[in-house]
Symmetry: C2
């Protein structure tokens, strides 16, 4: 069976339910609870009705009435410990590195459910890697005479998406962003350009994205870097179009 | 009632259920579905059993068996359109700016639930803002003679956490990170220091965090910037301790 549900279960039954299914199913509880978190910071969430999700990989999410982000969470690799203590269900989630702990205390569970999800192929178009491949296939979009030397080149400051050499023999460092390029993207490119400048003179840096914020463009110009607008065409084929 | 559930509902009943509750409750469906996304990129998720969450603020999340991140998602402010079409439940979620659309097609819904979450006070200790306030109260942690000029100072390249002036009259720019400082944090600080260098000579830049990666520390030193280790004490009080 790919799902199981309990309506207004006893706490002890909820504990058994979680122990039975959490390694094979995604557990969802709708419950009244308070949440304490300690680790890199500390937080405390007062009693209220919330949605708890526990996945077989150890992921734990506590969702409230609004927002994309969970109120509290633990990443995959966390461990679950469950007990019932004096009419309170206590669910502890422990992340080993860095040590972080979430303690959920619940006097009432309204609904407990266990859902076994299946895998399905996930295909993504318009990724940064596709943009890189498109530019490699169509070098004239950047400029005549550019030759590409390497993809995903490791440096002490991160992986450079694409490195080329222009017709004058200058290295060209490309950093790709699949949506609007921000200040961080400019700084990232600058780090790579600074690094290559120590090895060789006259390094060019190019930020490639469908768009760029005005503050990022200003910073890019100040640093003497370049922008190439590359727009994924909105179709289920990996075709790109250059707009500028 | 703060929750409602349907087990193996007809598609038409599921559609009515969502329409009835999604503005007041968080909807959770366990269903077989495929998912198409188009917007800044394009993606396609093949048919499989998954968990769909829709919140009253328009947030939509599709979760699978593992990982913290949803497979697909839309942010708050998105709009839901539901219809039943030739034995398929079609749920469209539209984000207006930038235009992005998710289309979920489901031939089978196993469980539909509506949960009304409540608010509870959420308290966070060890935030960046608390670290800033602690340093302001204990300037000697940094060095004797430092005077703080302003918090959250707006620049064209973002908000500077804290600006001070040292005993020699030099500006000191502080950037705080509540967990391990990474390359991005160094670049962010460098942007601010570069900006202030245009206005005034001899700018010092200080990255404040509980820890720093080795590559970030290397870059920091190359840029001539400083690191201050500030560690939140693991207690429910906002006490900090400097380790180095």
């Amino acid at each position: 069976m790919n799902y199981h549900t309990l309506i207004e279960p006893e706490l002890i039954d909820t504990a058994e339910f979680i122990k039975k299914y959490w390694r094979s199913h995604v557990i969802i509880l709708f419950l009244n609870c308070q949440v304490k978190y300690s680790g890199r910071a500390e937080s405390f969430l007062e009693y209220g009705d919330r949605i708890l999700m526990i996945k077989p990989d150890g992921t734990l999410l506590i969702h409230g009435q609004s927002k994309r982000e969970p109120i509290n969470w633990q990443p995959p690799g966390s461990t679950i410990v469950i007990r019932v203590n004096d009419k309170v269900l206590v669910i502890r989630s422990i992340r080993p590195h860095p040590r972080e702990e979430i303690i959920i205390s619940s006097p009432v569970v309204y609904v407990a459910a266990a859902f076994k999800c299946t895998k399905g192929k996930f295909l993504l178009w318009g990724s940064e890697s596709e943009m890189v491949d498109f530019l490699i296939k169509h070098p004239e979009i950047f400029e005549k005479g550019i030759k590409f030397i390497g993809k995903e080149v490791q440096t002490p400051y991160g992986k450079v998406d694409l490195v080329g050499e222009d017709s004058k023999g200058r290295f060209v460092i490309f950093e790709f962003k699949r949506s609007i390029a921000q200040l961080q993207g400019v700084s990232q490119l600058k780090r790579y350009v600074d690094y290559y400048t120590k090895l060789r003179k006259d390094i060019r840096g190019v930020l490639v994205a469908p768009n760029i914020t005005s503050s990022a463009l200003r910073l890019l110009k100040e640093y003497g870097l370049e922008f190439l607008r590359l727009q994924p065409v909105k179709r289920m084929t990996a075709i790109y179009r250059v707009k500028e």
